[in-house]
């Protein structure tokens, strides 16, 4: 079931109605809690089983394994190993087998293992829960609570990755479900839908053609195509995250913010505090720190950073392009950390020109790395890079929607920048920008707010690209 489908909306509507009714029944709070949990679990299993039954079975198995080994804390690591192994088998077997065949010069068909829906993300939830229980940050929960957390359908397929403690903190208390959750939730959902259908999908038309047939384009057009992908993936993935946050909000849950104007980052360290925040937080907490973090000397710190990002790259997919993408980011993080240590520049204040240069440089570096992320193969990535930097003639395509999208991005960003100016003056560290994105949630009981929301919905329909383009992170 896609995040953009009538079926999801039907499911969301049905769950909302049931939670709304439970909220108004004069029943014991514990019974209400259980009814809420089982309704969410059932809806989540329907959501997954709709894609295929295998996904529902794997999800159920991982949930039960997680619950069992968290309860038996002594063997918690077996739960982690089993969860990660499940992910590995489904996600990387094809890659390992085909790479091995290549190395040994064998030909033939590889195994075509179907990837269960959301496995990358529910594995994160499972591992996070097991480690948190092991570290004593959380008490082990019953199966019902664990299942509600791991299977929670708004975040299941592409996140945001919610910490178990955060989820239980919300599910344990009495949540009011009604117009006060529905209206903000709908607005955030529509905001995400706009990012996806209008901005990301429009850009996908150009990006797809540049990456499919780079040889027909001039260097300048390829440069624009590469820039366009930076914006496409941002609007695609952040749009999805917004929709997930909006859907959860309707049901009375607050999912963590996943993007915070990432292309305003002054350096790579800050970028990862603004881009896919829940993944980078997860990687830092459960991978980087587990590897030793910065506790084992400088060299080891840099190595841990590189290793963490390579693991992050591999998580995206079994392809050398993702490994290089992760490696480049890891190196950049290590270099930035070393630079900060050497110069102590995080204590300095910088003027506007320095800020602009650092933001632009970070954006260009990120954009360069996205070439490896987007290209279907290493060869294709190299072709794009070569063509872009060797002043090739070819078709010039000043893609209209790229300029529109960038203009909309800046227009949407401006209020956040202006609001944060006062706070930014107090910033002491270079990698701590105080610019914060906020959802434009309106009070729809006011007439003109209602008009503004309807106009926004009208623009969404009017400008949407109707050619169809799947979610980028639907593949991971």
């Amino acid at each position: 079931m896609s995040m953009i489908s009538f079926k999801l909306m039907g499911l969301l509507g049905a769950v909302f109605c049931l939670l709304y009714i439970y909220d108004r029944l004069r029943i014991d709070d514990r019974l209400r809690h259980r009814l809420n949990n089982w309704t969410l679990i059932a809806a989540s299993l329907v959501f997954v089983a709709y894609a295929n039954l295998l996904s529902a079975l794997v999800l159920t198995a991982v949930t039960v394994v997680t619950w069992y080994f968290a309860k038996n804390r002594k063997y918690w690591y077996i739960g982690v190993i089993l969860s990660v192994l499940t992910l590995g088998v489904f996600k990387y077997t094809n890659f390992v087998v085909s790479s091995a065949m290549e190395v040994f010069g064998k030909t033939g068909t590889t195994l075509n293992i179907l990837l269960p829906v959301g496995i990358s993300f529910f594995t994160f939830s499972a591992v996070s829960y097991l480690v948190d229980v092991h570290r004593g940050e959380l008490e082990a929960r019953n199966l019902e609570d664990v299942a509600a957390y791991i299977t929670f359908f708004p975040k299941l397929t592409s996140g945001p990755i919610q910490r178990s403690g955060d989820f239980f903190g919300q599910s344990d208390r009495r949540r009011q479900v009604g117009m006060q959750t529905f209206l903000p939730g709908v607005q955030i959902f529509v905001f995400g839908l706009f990012k996806k259908l209008v901005m990301a999908d429009r850009l996908s038309v150009f990006v797809d053609q540049v990456y499919e047939t780079p040889m027909i384009f001039s260097s300048f057009s390829i440069f624009l195509g590469v820039i366009a992908y930076s914006f496409q993936i941002y609007f695609d993935f952040s749009g999805y995250s917004d929709m997930a946050i909006g859907a959860a909000k309707m049901l009375g849950y607050d999912l963590p913010v996943n993007f915070n104007l990432p292309y305003l980052a002054h350096n790579v360290t800050e970028l990862w505090k603004r881009w896919h925040i829940t993944l980078s937080t997860w990687l830092m907490k459960y991978v980087y720190i587990s590897l030793g973090g910065n506790r084992k000397g400088k060299a080891r710190t840099y190595l841990n950073l590189v290793l963490t990002m390579v693991i992050g790259g591999i998580w995206h997919g079994a392809n050398w392009t993702y490994i290089i993408w992760g490696f480049l980011h890891g190196i950049a993080l290590a270099v930035h950390k070393a630079w900060m240590t050497l110069t102590g520049s995080n204590e300095k204040k910088h003027g506007i020109p320095a800020n602009i240069i650092s933001i632009a440089a970070t954006f260009l570096f990120t954009t360069f790395c996205w070439i490896f992320f987007r290209a279907p193969s290493l060869h294709s990535a190299v072709t794009i890079i070569k063509r872009m930097f060797t002043f090739q003639t070819g078709v010039n395509q000043p893609y209209f929607w790229l300029f529109v999208t960038v203009a909309m991005y800046f227009a949407a960003m401006l209020p956040a920048v202006l609001r944060s100016r006062g706070r930014e003056l107090k910033a002491r560290k270079l990698n701590t920008s105080f610019v914060r994105a906020e959802y434009p949630v309106l009070d729809l009981s006011k007439f003109w707010n209602l008009v503004a929301f309807f106009v926004f919905c009208g623009l969404l329909i009017a400008l949407a690209y109707t050619g169809g383009s799947p979610f980028i992170y639907g593949n991971y």
Binding site: S5, I216, P398, F400, L459, A464, G468
Partner: protein, 368 residues
Amino acid sequence: MPKMDSIRNPVIRRIAEWAFWLVKIGAAGAVAVVILSVLMLGYSFIPVHIENPDGNTDYIWPAGSVWFRVTEGIGYGKFDDNGFNNPEVIEHPDILLLGSSHMEAQYVPQGDSVSAVMNDLFGGEHEVYNLGISGHTIFKTCQYLPKNIELYKDSVKYVILETFFVSMTEKDVDNVLNHTVQYSSSKHSPVMQFVNEVPGLRILDHQRKVGFVDLFKDSGRTTKVFSIDGDEYSSEVSASDLPAYDRLFGYLEDIEKETGVELIIYYHPTETFDGEGHILFEEGNAYEAFAAAAEAHHIDFVDMADDFVRMFNEEHHVAHGFCTGRLGIGHLNSYGHRASAETLVRVIREKDQAQKESGKEADADVND
């Protein structure tokens, strides 16, 4: 919200509150449509088409109305007093341009259309009048051909029939010969007429038609193949349909003989690209059958493929597609219009020259 506290009955009070909300939502929706309509003036502003009293096309546009769109390409202009996309009516054109939405050219500035560029290049030598209308495929233009020649019989020497595909079936040709090619009516229900006249509603209806709703169906999120005028055309035809070519071109040859007007079929195939950066065109038996039938019936067949390849290799321009979408997909862009106009002007000048020479030879024969 107005005070509902004065209503004592709780049920009626509740109903009144809901009624108030519904009215508020309706009013907000109406205001939003007005605002959206204003915003759409800068995105897609096309008048509503009307019946053609002359009967030489299915429909025309309101005389003198302006149009603007950035939905595919960036196009703008003003319809002439006959309701076609020309800056002004040409009373005695000697070249008629009949064709589909490509010739109607609502995707480029009016001055960039094939007919406008041809008029510039001819510089008064010939006068080209564009009668292109969306949805008028080669079958419809062939059906309307006798009517158009009759309307302009005093001046017309050449008629250019545009096509972007070369496949046909026996049924298609039957329809041409029997004048039963599907008619696009300009009569709408009152509701649809209202929707068409309000830009804010019209764009929503347009998006519905081009698949916005499908995006929310499970099958709708796969990338779709673009097609012009809602149909897809194959490059292959079945053996049983091959006789159709002879029948259609026989029909055209008869018209040519009866009227003395020279017909030129102008074909602009859409491009694809391979991984090495080469431009490709679809190949198939439809093209061969089309070209062979044109030759057999002495109808000029102008295939733009070679010109498009030259333009791509030398100038790095593609004839179809815009800066708003995918290259090689969609309507003719300004480069495509210019290349087509240049080729058509060259072809017509060659024909003029040939006619002059054959005229001189005829005079010489008479003098001898």
